[in-house]
Amino acid sequence: MRRCLVLLLVAWCTAWVLPAAAQTGADTAYARLASDSYSDIEAGIAALVVSGDPKAGPVLRALTDNRLLYRPDDKALAIKDGATVTDARTGAAVNPEGLKPVRVNNRVRRAIDAALGTLNLLAPDAATRRNAADAVFKARDAAALPALDAALARETDAVVKRTMQEARAAALLARPGAPEIERLSAIDTIQARGDSEALAILRGLSADPAQSVRDAAARGVSGIETRQALMANVQNAWYGVSLGSVLLLAAIGLAITFGVMGIINMAHGEMVMLGAYTTYLVQELIRQKAPFLFDWSLPIAIPLAFLAAGAVGILIERTVIRHLYGRPLETLLATWGISLILQQAVRSAFGPTNREVGAPSYMSGAFEVFGLSITWGRLWIVVFAMAVFVALNLILKATSFGLKTRAVTQNRRMAAAMGIRTPWIDAFTFGLGSGIAGVAGVALSQIDNVSPNLGQGYIIDSFLVVVFGGVGNLWGTLVAALTLGVANKFLEPYAGAVLGKILLLVFIILFIQKRPRGLFALKGRAVEA
């Protein structure tokens, strides 16, 4: 298939110079595209590119989006655009009767990518050109060389130019009889790129006939590998921080209800789940009523999730928990019952299956810094976790509500004597903890299943984080979450996910022997009272 494409693309370059000569080529191309066979469609794409048909771009784009239709009877090709269907060649409106979409599989998709890449190398928009160059780079097709040379000659943008040079190097290395000297300099270019794609190309040269090329490739591979090994540690640290923020988010509400108030809140996970379901509801509403707001769905969901989970929290506190102050172990039993009820309630209301929560555009994709690949979603979660942490600290340390909360939890009777309405403080503190858990649910909906079981997956980890950090200490929770996250991620590559986790649990058990009150324990005479 590759050789076939080579020939066709060479032909296309000629066609660039002589557009008129390709008219008949387009006929065959359109005929082949109107087919049910992937091989035909693939050949059709190649033929279309060669033909230099001005409609090639729109047709290929329509094909990617499943908007290219054909009629099996008369092999007519049409493009669907919203409600209107027009003939692919003439642009005239056609009767949509009997039209079927042209099918696409991975093979066809790759062919389209390569074709569009070549087509777009000269696009006016720099970003498109860069994507095109990237596509050509991935295609590693020697036939793209002339197009690349042409594009390189015109290119002014430095970044795009570098990508094109890399694409050219990749294409050159794929060309059978390229001069050795050029191949060696291409290897340098590829090595400088230094990512896993580059590694793939260089490793592919291990069977090259020329000794010097083999050596250079091997040097390149080891060079990239050394750098990647170094980067792996940084990458692990980042993964750890990101896992740590997830743990922090999951645990921070518990640090209030359990850590500050002393309630062994087994329904904490369900508060997180409620937050996630609130996100789902917000997105559903937006999808139906105001799709343009989709990117705002998370900012909208955050306060709503806080209110929803907080309200449920206050309800639970007023109806059940307030009867149980001073009996911490019994709060465990009651909240366990509540968690069962909440799970089943959500299951009855929304069904047992996962609900779809989409990622807004700024949460998807990844970017690279110094060879470190960072996904936007994770980055936002880290930022969000830290923001929640800071906000919570401010509430507890710098507001009169926080002051009263601390007063009530430290000495209930004294606080009551000083005129603080302890029942309200209790209710709102529990509401705050639950609300924060709900907010965490918004973030977790981005990376995990939104199902009735969501909360169960985090409850044990949350308790471990709070206890490891030291009950009643928010900073302890922060340090514990990040420590566990990073440790987990450094263990995982060596011990595997399961053993890593087991080792960590054993570590926590042993650590608690050493410091029976966690990382940041209070000291002094009051402790044992």
């Binding site: 490793r203 040269l205 997830v246 990622a359 996904t375 994770r378």
Partner: protein, 428 residues
Amino acid sequence: MTWKGWLSRAAVAGGLALGTLASTVASAQETIKVGILHSLSGTMAISETTLKDVMLMLIEEQNKKGGVLGKKLEAVVVDPASNWPLFAEKARELIAKDKVSAVFGCWTSVSRKSVLPVFKELNSILFYPVQYEGEESERNVFYTGAAPNQQAIPAVDYLMKEEKVERWVLEGTDYVYPRTTNKILEAYLKAKGVKPEDISINYTPFGQSDWQTRVAAIKSFGSAGKKTAVVSTINGDANVPFYKELANQGIKATDIPVVAFSVGEEELAGIDTKPLLGHLAAWNYFMSIDTPANKAFIEKWHAYTKNPKRVTNDPMEAHYIGFNMWVKAVEKAGTTDPDKVIATLPGIKQDNLTGGTSEMLANHHITKPVFIGEIKDNGQFDVVWKTDGLIPGEAWSKQLDGSKDLEADWVKLNCGNYNTKTKKCGGA
């Protein structure tokens, strides 16, 4: 005072539930009972609840047609709550206390293993609708899901042929199905000339939610200059975070395709599938398959659930086939007596929803077509390949040392593990 109101409401609700129960019991005269043993709570509720619903629909429909043997069918639903010993207990309750004629149920292998002794002891019939690891053929169980040769091996064949894959990541959740499937695939790939260093096998725990490290590892395994694919036997819950991480790290199907055996329409309903375009799944049924039977089935399903968005999936079709086979067998035998029904079932044919006719085989597995589908952006699959005819399910894998000499035949040999070498029933 809130609790008092709440309490009274709970009491009313409880009373109502008991009341409806009593009324169903009262109206149930001369019925044939059918047990439904699917988890409605706990971790597996996510997959199994749908199967309970589809069974209720099939039973209702059969009753509209006049029931079986002139009697109405009555569904007995219990909740084994994703708790494996509870599966055995509930199976015992269904058979011994409720006297059901057959049970449709189980999803996980461990739940099936847990109820097996009960079905053997009390001599009843279980229809098991989920693709599984094989290596089993029991007299009392009918396997309407895919055996490994009806799912895993065709999928790998497709990837080798169509995508020219040379390097394989076998990524699975650490339990029996992935372990066995990957053992079989590893043996198969090696027989096809794949070098051991081109196969990477990895297992993660249930409910794995942080996939950053694994996806990065897959990415780097895929950068060896050879076309790489992932064969995923990751179980239910862990799939969503896995696919979300794949999308986030920018692994597209055109770079490293992932073919999954446990991801169907139901699982995709919880994910935004746009970034997953082109990743694959191998099943014996897809909702998107355009046949009149399938269309009718989907319409009935939407009407029954009063939800035009509910999807259908492979295990649902398996229950459809299994249930109809059971009905035919009971009609043919003229009785619900388990021994007679078990003897009648092999050879029963039933049109499946994808245009073929499945047949119950002597090894208690059925013939099925195999489809490979690519994930589309609407959460459905586009069938890109299918087997020419129907593939008979193999109880014992030819790829494993322990089982390559075993054969299951309940018709001629009356044995589930006949050793063709020693000519003895019972394995050895």
